[in-house]
């Protein structure tokens, strides 16, 4: 299989769908003439023209709303949120219109819309440009929310997203746009609602998504080496719908779990994961599910502070050891 970057895989999925379906259009700030600030859409305006690759003013709410309108008319807009940090400005459109208009119209319309862009921290982007919004959008019925981490999945899930008749919040691992991985040619559509077992193991389950999956994989290697512990790593990848079964099955096997997220602790994905596991695998758990999250502070700029704010290998390894060697009463 050819190796491609995350960026190329993403572009490939969009290009493929644009070629096969005229109703697919791209919209966003500087995605056309400028080439896309992350070069995801580079070259596409030359290929598909400005009516299908639409540069917009800096008006996140306005163009997201317009895209919802297009989707209600049967088009399939793929909107670039230059970064998800700007999406608060579009959150009214996303949550109040995209997520709900099908319901409050009594099913008279569909909203086949994808909103995509980089999510999570980068390098020193500081407080206003560092957010992980999977829990925020994942909370609202009517939306689907996904967060692929491999080049394979970003292509496959984008294919699925564009074909889905519902609004999809597509959270890219922005920090990994340049990373390579195997990506099949053609159609590798990845269904939503299925977690991926990124590494099999028996002793403890590390649950994560986005770039923290790579962190968990590194920790798993380390646990193997240093503790002779076999860790299973699960890439949740679909935030809504959430694949509870795969999580629960894994924990039934390992009896111990750590949930890792870059986002803040309160009301985050890890809390949901812990909550589901204790509910559905209560009798299998040999230790509480421990969460590892970002520090409860707005993202700082200085690199040393920033590194301390993101989940680290040490923090995940230590959480794993905590659940592994915990004395259990009762």
């Amino acid at each position: 299989m050819p190796e491609k970057t995350y960026r190329e895989a993403l572009r490939e999925a969009m290009t493929q769908e644009m070629e096969s379906d005229e109703s697919v259009v791209l919209m966003g700030e500087d995605i056309g003439v400028y080439g896309g600030t992350h070069l995801i859409t580079d070259g596409l305006i030359d290929r598909f023209g400005p009516k299908r690759v639409i540069d917009t003013p800096i008006a996140e709410g306005g163009f997201t709303g317009a895209a919802i309108g297009m989707a209600m008319m049967g088009m399939r807009p793929v909107v670039e949120m230059m970064t998800w940090n700007f999406s608060f400005l579009a959150s009214d459109q996303i949550i109040q219109n995209a997520a709900k208009v099908r319901y409050f119209s009594g099913g008279q319309v569909e909203v086949p819309l994808v909103i995509r862009g980089p999510n999570g921290g980068g390098v020193q982007l500081s407080a206003q440009h560092t957010h992980s919004l999977e829990n925020m959008y994942g909370h609202f019925p009517g939306l689907k929310v996904v967060s692929p981490v491999t080049p394979h999945d970003v292509k496959g899930m984008m294919l699925t997203a564009i074909r889905d008749p519902n609004p999809v919040i597509f959270l890219e691992a922005g920090a990994l746009y340049g990373t390579k991985g195997e990506v099949p040619e053609g159609d590798n559509a990845v269904p939503f609602g299925k977690a991926r077992i990124a590494r099999e193991g028996d002793d403890v389950t590390l649950i994560s998504y986005g770039r923290q999956v790579n962190l968990c994989l590194r920790v798993a290697d380390r646990l193997e080496e240093e503790d002779d512990v076999s860790a299973e790593v699960i890439d949740v990848r679909s935030i809504r719908p959430l694949d509870e079964d795969t999580l629960v099955e894994s924990v039934k096997k390992t009896h111990r779990a750590v949930a890792v997220q870059e986002q803040w602790r309160l009301f985050g994905v890890a809390s949901e994961v812990a909550s589901i596991i204790q509910e559905k695998a209560f009798d299998y758990l040999d230790a509480p599910v421990i969460r590892v999250s970002g520090a409860e502070v707005p993202a700082p700029y200085a690199r040393n502070l920033e590194l301390a704010a993101f989940p680290s290998e040490e923090a995940v390894a230590s959480a794993a050891r905590q659940v592994l060697y915990q004395e259990v009463e009762a």
């Binding site: 003013p57 306005g62 709303g65 049967g74 219109n97 319309v109 019925p141 519902n166």
Partner: protein, 384 residues
Amino acid sequence: MPAHLAGDGVVVFFTQNVPQSGKGTTVAAESQRTEEESVEVREEPSENGAVASADGEHLVDLYKKMILIRIFEEACQRGFRQGKIGGYLHVYIGQEAVATGFLDAFKEGDKVITAYRDHPHALLLGSDPKAVMAELYGKGTGLVKGKGGSMHLFDVERGFMGGYGIVGGHIPLGLGFAYAMRYQQTDHITQLYLGDGSMHNGAFHEAANMSGLWGKDGMNPCLFIIENNQYGMGTSVARSTAMTDLAAKFDAYGIENEKVDGMDIEAVLEVAHRATQRVRETGRPYAVEALTYRTVPHGAADFFEKYRTKDEVKKWRERDPIGLLEHKLLERDVLDEESLEEIKGEMKETIDEVVRFANESEEPPIEELYSDVYAGQDEYLGEE
């Protein structure tokens, strides 16, 4: 033919096939009327231009529509006070000429979108008044199956794209429709209704700007219709902006604009056909500020109105659009007092029947709670 008010068993009484012979008012410079049309006004205005004034029959038709709206809205207010209608309820009393006039220029395939003061738009597009009322009564026979209520009427088949509760939030959607209609190579347009109060919201600004921009390439046939009823809730235009010429605000977006007396159905009609035609032909947006007034409180639950005087309301009532039209009909000998009363009487009966239907309909089955969340295979992602 306008299936219009043709609900099950509801009397259809609007004139069909209204010939549009010019009768005095100005014809837009860039358009010309063809001779002797006998097309339906609402469905197909003149091929290549605006209508001039409406003839008598047409006015009677419009009168009936306005009466329908008025009596329907009054019935809603009663239903609300009786506790039959819940949530928020906003009626169109005093503003009837605006939607009635503009929707006279609606052509099949066009799209209409508005905020929460949305009953007249549905009714004028031909939604069954029974289904509309049943919606407000929260019944399964409602226009959107009881799921949306007063603020969320939809009749997509007839071009009515809703019915939205967040002030300004629907405006960007309207441009999207307009873009799509050109992208799909049709000559349809969006009629986008918005309130005076919504214009100070960012959603309006972003949308109007993009509409103007896309219009440069002929990709935004969107007619902005400002229902300037002088207030956003209790805040007058002058207390919400230092620059109170709302039409002129569109200058900032390169969108041509004008004002119209929204109480005078003939004036509305003239601009409606002219502006609609223009938008259709150019693919560029256009804005019309209709000066009107709601002679009732903002919402049906409002019980006092500190923000305006009785005197002010009274003055505007003197220019009530229905009163004005009655005056014209009488003056021009189109109808006499008796026929006016007759029309109202018939309409009351119709609406009584509508209310009865709504009242007697069943609540939606509980399974409806879980449907329409998602399209496709996964309608519901929760438990049970």
